[in-house]
């Protein structure tokens, strides 16, 4: 049983668990959309005073902030009790493509070239993290949702705006992967 839990989970079980998470949130009167938390935090730290967009009753979104705390705890608990920290088993073709960019084959969950403390404290490494976050935060609010809100919740409700957003996610992702990453690395 423990072995089953510590090895990586299958795509179908993981997908089913994500759908279950969404339905539990719906059943509890809310919805599955993680990036709203970014707007809520902006409001909670008082940015509503300088910008009307963040001037709303953020406390009504407390449930989602609690969900966020839970997500952090989930990552922590996995690391402590459910992880072998084995290298991610990505496709050989991906390993070869990434090696051309100077990123080595997986040794754990994340590439050290981007997420190690050493990389984080270098100017280039810091810029990569900062611009990545900046674009995710700006884009998600502009598009009115992220992977959970559009790709999962929105598509489940057959919403055309969410389909357009997901097409946008891929357009941006492909441009970054094939055109910009080779220039950065």
């Amino acid at each position: 049983m423990i072995e089953l839990l510590t090895q990586p989970w299958s795509w179908w079980f993981s997908g089913a668990m994500i759908a279950a998470t969404m339905f539990f949130l719906i059943f509890f009167g809310q919805s599955f959309g993680f990036s709203s938390n970014l707007k809520t935090i902006c409001s909670a730290v008082g940015l509503g005073k300088t910008n009307k967009f963040f001037d709303f009753n953020w406390k009504s979104q407390m449930w989602n902030l609690v969900f966020l705390i839970g997500a952090i705890l989930g990552g922590f608990l996995t690391k402590q009790f459910l992880s072998t920290d084995a290298p991610v088993q990505i496709a050989q073709s991906t390993i070869e493509d990434l090696s051309k960019l100077g990123i080595g084959a997986p040794e754990s969950l994340q590439p050290a070239e981007i997420f190690s403390l050493e990389a984080m404290l270098s100017l280039k490494g810091f810029m990569i993290l900062a611009f990545g976050g900046l674009m995710v935060g700006f884009g998600t609010r502009y598009a009115g949702g992220c992977t959970s809100g559009h790709a999962i919740s929105g598509l489940s409700n057959l919403q055309i705006p969410s389909l357009i957003a997901v097409i946008g996610f891929f357009a941006g992702g492909l441009i970054m992967t094939f055109l910009i990453l080779p220039l950065i690395f």
Binding site: L47, M62, L77, N157
Partner: protein, 137 residues
């Protein structure tokens, strides 16, 4: 106490995202290079079950735990904001290898660098609020 269920759901979400490796930069690269089925399998399964479940909720007028009707509020009609906003999001997703949920899960896992990504995602959200009225929607 009324929040404990959301805490538990968040914990489950964090564990699932980590154990499925959807929080890994490597997996996101593999997805955008169309070199494995894994991420498509996860999202595809979630959406397939999601579409079925939402249809059932609507067909049988299923109510939430307090007996209130479940309403799905449609998003505003537009193309530009979803396409432009979505593309900017995608650029950041492929660069940092994480969307907002996986960012904080990664921090819990011990990848402190993701705290920087999350902080700048907050800055990005604020910037959107500042320039929002000048953008096509």
């Amino acid at each position: 106490m009324k929040f404990i269920k959301f805490l538990l759901l968040g914990i489950v979400f964090g564990i699932v995202m980590t154990k499925s490796e959807a929080v890994s930069w490597f997996r996101i690269q593999e997805m955008f290079r169309f070199q494995a089925f894994h991420m498509y399998g996860i999202i595809g399964t979630a959406v397939t079950l999601g579409v079925s479940g939402v249809a059932l909720i609507k067909k049988f007028n299923i109510r939430d735990y307090q007996g209130n009707p479940i309403v799905f509020s449609p998003k505003d009609k537009s193309v530009s904001r979803y396409l432009l906003g979505g593309s900017i999001f995608g650029l950041g997703w492929a660069l940092s290898g994480a969307c907002p949920g996986p960012m904080v899960v990664n921090v819990g896992y011990g990848h402190w660098a993701m705290a920087i990504v999350f902080f700048f995602a907050l800055v990005g959200t604020y910037l959107y609020g500042v320039v929002k009225n000048k953008l096509p929607h």
